[in-house]
């Protein structure tokens, strides 16, 4: 599968995503420049973590207007696979390619830590390599990862199975204590209605090597890579 990783000014985990895909998982992956207008034949576009444009106004608010985002929107409309990690998730929400918004962590502090996630829907291009209910351990590192959406929207997300990942505790419960940032309904990752755009706050690209943070993140990339086959 061909992966394009977008580099916005202020992207930080773009190199990590390329490393995970290319050097660890042996995928064909290349960087895309935010001023590009084409996607270089990518079959999955990754919007990486970081602080695009310093995230100075609102996370993702400025990156959303980058020239490449027009192509990403068109690609998504045509059913292309788009994965937004952390800042990428924020950009996708700002660009209205995903529902809801990401606001400041309820602690008001940046959090870098490992969390446990439960796969809520394994029948999607982003999660099919996992079992439903499987627990994935991955790091989060963000200051604004509190997912919010109106109640009726949340209900719909739930009914349609668009909530793909939730924060859970060591007993598998989505408790308030296990919710690192105050996200509504403990949401860690959501997909769009067509299930071809997925955003998550945890960093699968930082969980692909046993010596660095475990390998749970591979499930996400393997799911996507499996789609092409």
């Amino acid at each position: 599968m061909k992966w394009g990783v977008v580099r916005f000014p202020g992207s930080l985990d773009d190199g990590d995503a390329l490393w995970a895909l290319r050097d660890v998982l042996g995928q064909e992956a290349f960087p895309l420049w935010h001023k590009d207008e084409t996607l270089g034949g990518a079959e999955c576009v990754v919007l990486p973590g970081g602080f695009s444009y310093g995230d100075y106004l609102r996370c993702g608010a400025i990156a959303r207007f980058s020239p490449i985002m027009k192509s990403v929107a068109r690609f998504a409309a045509d059913g292309g696979l788009v994965l937004g990690i952390c800042n990428g998730f924020q950009i996708l929400c700002e660009a209205h390619l995903l529902p809801g918004a990401l606001t400041r962590n309820r602690s008001l502090a940046f959090i870098c830590d490992f969390v446990n996630l439960r796969v809520e829907n394994a029948a999607t291009p982003f999660t099919r390599a996992a079992r439903a209910g499987a627990v994935l351990r991955m790091p989060i590192k963000h200051g604004e990862g509190c997912y919010v959406a109106p109640e009726d929207e949340l209900r719909q997300l739930e009914e349609r199975g668009q909530i793909l990942l939730r924060y859970i505790d060591e007993n598998g419960e989505a408790t308030d204590a296990a919710n690192p940032n105050g996200s509504m309904r403990s949401i860690a990752g959501v997909a769009n209605e067509r299930f071809n755009v997925f955003g998550l706050m945890p960093h699968p690209e930082h969980a692909v090597e046993a010596t660095l943070g475990g390998i749970a993140g591979r499930k996400i990339f393997e799911s996507i890579a499996g789609v092409a086959r």
Binding site: D13, G54, C112, T211
Partner: protein, 745 residues
């Protein structure tokens, strides 16, 4: 020779009073007039005042710093560059340095700490190295001091705010609370970068006629006189009022600068590059010209400004952040400009390199400063200030109230120690830092030293920053040695060979002989220990005038040690991982309560420090490295604040699931010093029982004592004194700081 520079209309008169107001002594002013053969203009006076300030000229410390060992087989590049570099194998060099941002962080904690991180990162990438790790050494006043919480929140927020946004992981650090810092906190920021050896850059200008390019943020009135006033004069109530314009950091622009500068360096079109740090444009331009034995001419009206109407004086002295100065190879400016354009940055030609050895600035056609480069870069005064021991230890420093003397039972003492501000888990701090970005962090904060891999190689690095002001306050020489030993031990515990040191020497007013004595003794200790470990001191920084109302901070040499792994997969964790393993302790001397957390907490008079045998210290370090290389141990943990009992409790806290330890009664036998003493270098190892004999040989002539076994049941049992649930201890350890600094749920 050009005409003498002109005074600008409305500029203040230059006389002795003006010189004094600029912090120059009468003798210094006379020397300036002698060097110039005339009275300086007001602009020139400003230039001299910053370049001859303690902060820029190292006039009180230079003589002593020269005694530090700088050479070593692995050292790359000559002294005098922006940061030191060592060869770490496979063609890679590591470039690192530590710097203080103490006063700015006290005045404005968030921005002060943030710009401290930004400044040290620029020192690294200006060398052509990509920054890959940061550390922070933080000293605050007592936790219950009214300003402490505010300062902690601001400083930690600022370090995270900048480091996280610029994409450099903060992988280790230290935090201490002590009343000695109530009115003068310390914020020392460290950064490390990696470069291919052939890509290392120089800040030595060459090529008469080569253009000088300005890149980065526009210049504002930020921190004018920041370096000279803030970092070189002590604090009092009045200085809070006469705040200079605070520097605000912009990590986003810094990130663009990192990428653009590293890309620009690759073109080969750069002759020299330096960041505009303290004394901004003045120091960067004069230092680059000075190193190359050349001159430089600047057209100040070409400097990009953030506000209209800055005077030449302000443009030259501004400390606006995120700015770089580049000497380009003539004719290749456009190539460089294109690289910066791609990153939405503009490179502007503001001057050129000349052959006449003069540092000349023009403004709208008029020459406003014309000074021999050497006068500001090399001819700054050097002082051999008198040094004399104080009448009693501690007489020069802020008095520390002694705690009421109590003697709790060992179990109660352990519970109190593990939750004390200087022992408890620092997670509240480092959870606010991205320690993972760049995918090199094999071991982040929480262990003895951070471990980083070097991608595409088996090699790796270990790093840790340490200080021990309590010991330094009792004996500045032994305290400095103890600090180097601790840093080396932290690095060796994870299995890396200590390779080189960078240091930040934080002291009071050097014009006072007792302070100068502390400094001289501290440098001597650093030298002796660095020689013993064969770890050259490749870079560093001195911060004097850390005083409030005439009282100095405890002497605080901060030591950052970098170690190397030939095979990073052999790194060792600090926690137990196998029930039944033998628990061993290796020490260089008997532990004592002097300068310990126990003494501080329970009101034990501290007493003298025991002498340190550096040959034995070296043995311990070599033994630890060998243990890792031969895979002889399953864990190694340095005994530091709180002594052996606390170190054992920490080693039980395996992050996957806690283990226990059963320690033989005769290991401590109710002896408080054995349980909680510090001072001597000690490490706790766990190893398969069959390795114990080999370990004795590895560490000989140091004694390896088998003191107990790792147990599956998570209880810490130490003889008849202590029998505690590890999970409960862990809760005390983890909850103490959040409980006192404000919860982050």
């Amino acid at each position: 020779m050009s005409a003498a520079p002109i005074a600008l209309p409305g500029e203040p008169r230059v006389d002795l009073a003006a010189a004094r107001a600029h912090g120059l002594s009468d003798a210094e002013f006379a020397a300036i007039e002698r060097l110039l053969g005339r009275t300086p203009t007001f602009t020139e006076l400003g230039v001299f005042s910053v370049m001859w300030s303690e902060h820029c000229s190292y006039k009180s410390s230079r003589k002593h710093l020269k005694t530090l060992p700088r050479e070593g087989a692995s050292v790359v590049g000559g002294p005098g560059e922006n940061a030191g570099a060592i060869d770490v194998g496979d063609g890679w060099v590591a470039v690192f340095k530590i710097e203080s941002h103490n006063h700015p962080s006290y005045v404005e904690p968030y921005q002060g700490a943030a710009t401290g991180v930004g400044g040290i990162l620029r020192d690294i990438f200006t060398m052509g190295a990509r920054p890959i790790a940061s550390m922070d050494s933080l000293k605050f006043g007592a936790l219950d001091h009214p300003r402490t919480r505010y300062l902690v929140n601001g400083v930690v927020g600022g370090i995270g705010g900048y480091g996280n946004c610029v994409g450099v992981p903060t992988v280790a650090g230290e935090v201490m609370f002590d009343p000695g810092y109530n009115g003068n906190i310390l914020v020392n920021a460290f950064a490390l970068g990696l470069a291919r050896r052939e890509d290392l850059q120089s800040a030595r200008a060459h090529g008469v006629g080569n253009p000088v390019l300005y890149v980065g943020s526009a210049t504002g009135r930020d921190g004018i006189h920041g370096a000279s006033l803030l970092a070189s004069a002590e604090f009092d109530a009045a200085s809070e009022a006469k705040r200079p314009t605070v520097q605000v950091g912009d990590p986003f622009t810094e990130k663009l600068l990192i990428e653009a500068c590293l890309e620009a360096i690759k073109t080969g079109a750069i002759a020299a590059i330096q960041d505009m740090g303290a004394a901004g444009l003045t120091s960067s331009s004069s230092e680059m010209a000075g190193r190359g034995g050349l001159g430089v001419e600047l057209d100040l009206e070409r400097v990009p400004l953030r506000e209209a109407n800055l005077t030449p004086y302000e443009i030259l002295l501004s400390e606006s952040q995120e700015r770089m100065l580049i000497v380009a190879e003539q004719g290749r400016e456009a190539e460089l400009a294109a690289v910066f354009e791609r990153w939405d940055l503009h490179a502007v030609v503001i001057g050129k390199i000349t052959g006449d050895g003069r540092w000349r600035a023009r403004f709208k056609g008029d020459v406003v400063a014309d000074i021999p480069v050497a006068a500001i870069s090399d001819d700054a005064p050097v002082y051999d200030r008198p040094a004399a021991p104080p009448s009693a230890p501690g007489a020069a420093t802020i008095p520390r109230p002694a705690a009421p003397a109590i003697r709790p039972a060992p179990a109660a003492a352990l519970r109190a120690l593990i939750a004390s501000p200087n022992v408890a888990s620092r997670r509240w701090v480092f959870r606010q830092y991205d320690s993972l970005v760049l995918s090199n962090t094999v071991a982040g904060p929480g262990g003895d030293a951070a471990v980083l891999r070097i991608k595409g190689s088996r090699r790796g690095l270990a790093l840790k920053v340490d200080s021990n002001p309590r010991a330094c306050a009792i004996d500045p020489y032994l305290g400095a040695i103890a600090t180097v030993c601790e840093a080396a031990r932290n690095v060796a515990c994870v299995g890396a060979r200590p390779a080189a040191i960078t240091n930040c020497l934080n002291y009071g007013n050097p014009e006072r002989p007792e302070i100068m004595w502390q400094f001289v003794r501290g440098v001597a200790g650093l030298r002796d220990a660095a020689l013993a470990f064969a770890t050259p001191v490749i870079s560093g920084n001195v911060s004097f005038y850390n005083e409030t109302e005439g009282r100095a901070i405890p002497p605080t040499p901060t030591i950052a040690m970098v170690g190397t792994f030939a095979d990073v997969s052999l790194n060792v964790k600090h926690y137990f991982s196998f029930p039944g393993d033998a628990i061993l302790i290796v020490r260089t001397a008997a532990p004592a309560l002097a300068a310990s957390e126990y003494a501080d907490l329970f009101g034990v008079a501290s007493g003298q420090l025991a002498p340190i045998d550096l040959a034995r210290e070296r043995r311990l370090i070599d033994g630890l490295v060998e243990c890792a290389q031969r895979r002889l141990v399953r864990s190694a943990h340095d005994v530091s604040e709180g002594g052996m009992a606390v170190a054992l409790a920490e080693a039980c806290c395996n992050p996957t699931a806690p283990f226990g330890a059963a320690i033989d009664p005769d290991a401590t036998d109710g002896d408080v010093a054995a349980l909680f003493g510090e001072g001597a270098s000690s490490v706790i190892l766990s190893a398969p029982a069959e390795n114990v004999e080999v370990l004795r040989e590895v560490f000989a002539p140091l004694e390896v004592r088998e003191i107990g076994r790792v147990s599956a049941a998570p209880r810490l049992v130490i003889g008849r004194d202590i029998d505690e649930d590890v999970a409960a201890l862990q809760r005390l350890y983890e909850d103490a700081l959040p409980g006192r600094l404000g919860r982050h749920d």
